[in-house]
Each structure stands twice: as C-alpha cells, then as structure tokens.
C-alpha cells in the first residue's frame, strides 16, 4: 500500500506508543486533526497491509528475566538460505530470522536469527538441539550474546536523521 503523509505521521505516533488514557485513538487523532474513526480505520488498513507488524504490549525481555539473548549468524550458501531459514523460522524459540548482506572477509554471515532464553545455558541447549534436528552441524556460524543495552525505543520514521 502507498502510505500518505497522514499515514506516516500516524505510524510514527503509534510506534512511539499509545497514550495510556481511556480513549487513546481519540487522543492521537485530536493531536493530528483526525477523527477517532479515521485513526482506527487507517491503523486497521496498515495492519491488514502488513505495514504494522503488530500492535500491542511491547515487553522488555531483560526486565522479565530473559537475560540471555543470542543473535546466531550463519555462513550459508545463497542457494541453501531458503531451506535453512525455513527450518530456523519454524522453531518456537526463534523470534526473528532475516537474510542480510555479507561483507567478506570480515563478515561472511548472511542469515541471522534471534534466540531468547532465561540464561545462556538454556540458549546454548536450544541452539544445539536445533542444529542436530535440522542437520546444520557443518554450517559455520557464530553466536553473539548480548551485553549491555544502551537504547531501546520505538522507531522514529519521520523527521530528519539529525543528532
């Protein structure tokens, strides 16, 4: 779908978060000069079109005890990416699975997936089981556990990319 300027402004507002008031769509609309019904209809359209991936409570896994979070990256041949990605994406503990560009020689990895767990041992056990289940033993990969979190907030799509 083609997003209008109004859609983009609305998207930016809901990505930052709904106001925690009884009628949040009315409040967002009032700030933008839109009726509540129009706000709801535009959000429904953007959700149906997949522009909004999900609308809901955005939890901070770390604060809830999911302190281990590994990004696992795989050096998999282009022709095999689809097959390996389908196997990984079907795992319930894998929350994201993306193809990204390689930058050889420093960065040979093209497939990224994210695994969350309560501790590192749990994440490692999950990963080992996945590797065996899908026959990925020969695939070079790296496990990048997360350390400190410096920023986590909703994406800001509008406005200039300034400091």
């Amino acid at each position: 779908m083609e997003l209008t300027i109004t859609d983009r402004a609305l998207l930016a507002a809901v990505a930052e978060g709904l106001p925690l008031v009884p009628a949040p769509y009315h409040a967002i609309g009032a700030a933008m000069g839109l009726s509540e019904a129009e706000v709801r209809a535009r959000l429904a359209n953007m959700a149906a079109a997949g522009v909004i991936k999900r609308l809901g409570v955005i939890v901070r896994h770390r604060a809830l005890g999911y302190t281990a979070n590994a990004m696992v990256v795989w050096d998999v041949a282009d022709r095999a990416i689809g097959r390996v990605a389908a196997a990984l994406a079907g795992e319930p503990t894998v929350t994201l699975c993306y193809r990204r560009p390689r930058h050889p020689p420093n960065w040979p990895y093209a497939l990224f997936c994210m695994i969350h767990g309560r501790d590192r041992a749990a994440v490692r056990a999950t990963l080992s089981a996945m590797i065996v289940r899908h026959g990925l033993e020969d695939l070079p990969h790296a496990v990048l556990f997360s350390g400190r979190c410096f920023v986590q907030r909703g994406a800001r799509y509008t406005g200039a990319a300034a400091c």
Binding site: P24, Y25, K53, G56, I58, V59, A89, R118, A160, C163
Partner: protein, 152 residues
C-alpha cells in the same frame, strides 16, 4: 522490579499482538481479564514505570515505512562507552546494544529514506574513525507475533 501477579502476567502474555482497535481498547482488555478499565491503565502505567514494558504500541515492518538498517561496529573495548553514548544520542537510532564478538556494538538506524540512513552511518564513521558494517534487511522469514513468556 515489583513482583508481577497473575493479571499482570496475563496483560504481558496475551496482548503482544492483536491489540483492539475499538474506541475503548483498555476497557476491552479489562473485560477479557475481568478487571476495570482504570485498573488496566494503572497496571500498564506501573509496568512501564518498572521497565517491564517499553510501551503499548506498534512494531512497524522493516522497510515498509521509511528506511532502516542494522549496523555493527568493531570498537576497541576502551572506547566502547564513549562510542555507544555518541550513537545513542542520534534520534534516528532506536536500538543500540553491546554484543560479545569482535563486532561488539550493534544498532538500528531508522530514517525517512535510504539517503538519510546512509548520512547517519557516514557521520558516525567520520566522528569515530570506525566504519560501520551496513546490514540492511534483505528478506524476512519470520512473522513476529510477540514472544511466548514462560513463568517459572
């Protein structure tokens, strides 16, 4: 963080996606949980204040509105705090994490278009002397519907 009761846990578990688009969405959540709208709002306020949730809001599909990329930098340990703070100060950076690897600083840049994203990466490279790896999303294989929490 204060302990979470069964209703807090249900709020966190059941509404990570599919948040209602009706005029009084928090009343709808309350009806599903058997509590008042005002109780839903005060619990969400408390969960936000304690850091259990970042917000009630939208996750936007990458690449569908504006442009974004994942970037990684190999930062000498002694400069990590300084460079992480420099990167966090950009309003276009919405995630910024340390990871245990030679590429130890990872962040997401989101802006109105691809040129604006590249301008931020270029600015960071010139201010730090370290070239970020540019790792934009090429293909997504997983639909993020939130994350099933397991309460011990």
């Amino acid at each position: 963080m204060p302990p979470l009761d069964a209703i807090d846990r249900a709020l966190l578990d059941r509404f990570q996606s599919g948040f209602p688009l009706d005029p009084r969405p928090f009343a709808t959540l309350g009806a599903a949980l058997g509590i008042a709208e005002s109780d839903v709002l005060s619990r969400l306020d408390a969960l936000q204040a304690s850091g259990a949730i970042s917000r009630v809001g939208a996750v936007v599909a990458p690449g569908r509105a504006g442009a974004s990329t994942l970037a990684a930098m190999a930062v000498p340990e002694a400069r990590l705090d300084e460079i992480a703070a420099l990167i966090s100060a950009y309003s276009s950076v919405n995630h910024n994490y340390e990871r245990e690897h030679r590429f130890n600083l990872w962040f997401v840049v989101t802006a109105s278009d691809a040129a604006a994203v590249q301008a931020v990466l270029g600015d960071i490279a010139s201010r730090t002397g370290i070239l970020p790896l540019d790792l934009p999303l090429l293909e997504a294989f997983h639909i993020d519907l939130g994350f099933p929490l397991q309460w011990n």
